[in-house]
């Protein structure tokens, strides 16, 4: 186990309540071991997990989630670790960077109670 920058229980607590979608995308990519940058998730996994929370909200679409992922990547909070082709589609894998984990510490106070 590496350096823990954030407690996984906090992430679970946050994810039970709905936070702004882009923040939720980052929370979803976060793992127990924040130093493990090899722990990667595909965008489709992110959408599947978020649909369980945000259900049928129009914004919880693959297109919007892809936009959020790209924004998080250009800001350096996540990295694109590798790409594969599955069923006629390019699937990209992402992992949270150390900087991304640091930003996760700033959880909304109202949801931390």
């Amino acid at each position: 186990m590496g350096n823990k920058l954030i407690d996984m229980n906090d992430i679970k607590k946050i994810m039970k309540k709905k936070v702004p979608l882009r923040s939720a995308v980052l929370y979803t990519l976060a793992t127990e071991d924040s130093a493990d940058t090899t722990a990667e998730t595909t965008n489709e996994d992110v959408v599947a997990k978020l649909r369980l929370i945000y259900e049928n909200e129009k914004q919880c679409s693959l297109k919007v989630i892809n936009f959020h992922l790209e924004a998080l990547r250009t800001s350096g909070l996540i990295v694109n670790t590798r790409n594969t082709a599955v069923n006629n589609t390019l699937v990209s894998y992402y992992a949270v960077t150390e900087q991304g984990y640091r930003r996760l510490k700033y959880l909304p106070k109202s949801l931390m109670a």
Partner: protein
Amino acid sequence: MTTNIGSTMSTVLTLEDLEALKQRQQLSYAKKGLLFGILSGVFWGLDGVLLGISIAMVPFSDTSLAIYLAPLVGACMHDGFAAFWLFLYNLFTGRSRELLRTLRSRSGIIVAFAALLGGPFAMSGYLLGIQLAGTAHTLAITAMYPALGTVFAMIFLKERVSLRAWIGIVTCILGSFIVGYTPPAGDAHPHFYWGIAFALLPTIGWSLEGVISTYVMDLLDPQVAINIRQGTSFFVYLVGVLPMIGGLLLFKEALILPSAQMLLLTALAGSVSYLFWYKAMNMTGVGRAMALNITYALWSIIFGYFLTDLKLTTPLVCGAVTITLGALLVLANPKELVNLRN
């Protein structure tokens, strides 16, 4: 990110093919950000021309009103209507619940704080600067806001800005200065240095708004953030600024006159511009987005020429050419934008 590869699947894709596909996607995202930056300038140019027409209508045109009253009441109505248009946009794109979620988050509160800096704080300083130091000096100082914003972004966001992009930003600032410059009028400003101090407020306010908003937009949807920005700005004008300057009567009067309809239309252009500006800052970085946004000086000449009786003068044309050159330098290499920060 998932992309349908289609016919290319008949052949086996190598690692290099996949990398190339991914790079194409990332480049397309960066180019889209630059396009949004340009569009923010286009619509802000249109907004400025329409706002000029609105403020020239009754009751704002009444010369007995203090020089700062009409613009501040106009700014309040403009931001209120823009918040309304943005709310409709978010409602129809399925983000209405996201608005409430964002408002109760710490990031949402920070966006609201940034709105105060870029809205009432900056606007009040701008108008007082014009009143005490004159338009020429105020414009020269406030036109520097993209440069200050870029410096703040380099320090606080660790944004990468190449030398060429820097030259482009400075060229755009120079161009917008040439477009708006009018020679100062002698000793007409006894409180000149106070005016210069007030003119610094919008420069700091707008640049800080950009940097703070961009920081929190790492975790927020720009389309929701800008709605909160405009809503907060309107609220503070309405309950804080207007009662303080005695502008509520003018506000009520303007609401029932045709000028309100004109402002509603103006705010539509303004909300589109702000929407693109926030998206551009998020997608291409603060410095480039601000430099592309101040190309509004160029677009306002074009819209002003067709929609008003604006005469093309040598400074206007020279300024427009300078802005275009600056924008081209900023736009030159979108590949630099694939990773924005160090």
